[in-house]
Symmetry: C2
Subunit: 219 residues, 2 copies
Amino acid sequence: MTQKNRGILTVVSGFSGAGKGTIMKELMREHADCYALSVSATTRDPRPGETDGVEYFFRTREEFEQMIAEDALIEYAEYVGNYYGTPRTYVEEQLSAGKDVILEIEIQGALKIKKKFPETLLLFVTTPSAAELKQRLIGRGTESVEVVESRLARAVQEADGIEAYDYLVVNDVLSESVEEVHQMIRNEHRRVSRNINAIHNMRSELEDFMRHNEKGKEQ
Amino acid sequence: MTQKNRGILTVVSGFSGAGKGTIMKELMREHADCYALSVSATTRDPRPGETDGVEYFFRTREEFEQMIAEDALIEYAEYVGNYYGTPRTYVEEQLSAGKDVILEIEIQGALKIKKKFPETLLLFVTTPSAAELKQRLIGRGTESVEVVESRLARAVQEADGIEAYDYLVVNDVLSESVEEVHQMIRNEHRRVSRNINAIHNMRSELEDFMRHNEKGKEQ
């Protein structure tokens, strides 16, 4: 039961403003030895303060389409004229080394990954209530009706497909949510379906031992 | 997201000698407010020190067969001439009240329950390795080959069907195993499929809010 398992791929999605990014940052800070955070590639321009390879890998449209052609992305999508995608090599190297990899992507990309890799763990971060989400979407009440509308439309879109997720992270107290996510992933390592080899080995050893014991009886 | 969910039914099985009983006892001691332990009914005679309603409900064969006839058992089986079964009422009352119920039964009974109630959480307690299990089965080496053989046969039987289980509890350090089981059940409450109503409510509220916002724009 002690053999090193393959790492677990976890995708974290959630409502904008539910604190997903902060949970991820804290999780990486507290458990840097457990997790590798996958960095997405994009064709959008870096914003002030963003560094290539940290927030994103910033690529030209040509470079990105080359990656698509070479099947170098686990998933990709185009939003508002820009590509976003998950580079394959880093994820696969880390998983093979037994490291758990975390991706923070939206729900449609998450569902594509789950389809390709059914063992992916899908977590969805939400506020404790719709009322709280509304409050964050409205902000201080100084936004125009149109801005609130576009945020609401985005929230509805962000939750489309949530039924396919494994666990909800109801982000009320940050430190508790970080620990919950950590426990969800630790727990996943104990899933029977992820330990089938160890179980089969244990059973074979028991059966071998039974045969030896039988021999002892015959002598 | 704060609505009271139905309790979770957890079945704990495992190899004899892997420490299943001790884990359960500690779990109930540390988290008595969270869990209700279901007591099985049996037709076997009480052993010295056993109390009706504590270790088992001790019933006559006639009483037991009456329970079977009335569908008053979630599952039952006959071993070595005695019936063993899980009374239905207690389990259903506790689950409806939102209390998590734990059953400690062997794997064949567990699989029957999982078939009837697919939402049941199945946990299997094992030693860290086959070597350690063998050691416990052999004991001090003073047992006859036949006794060792029957223990081995039982262990092989106890693991038959383990692939249908959800999680392995590798019992190395008792206190850690108790905490693991507790976390597995807590975690289960956060599963998306157990929170579908809350998710649907949240989505409706968001959509209602969108409609109201639309009206605001029209005015």
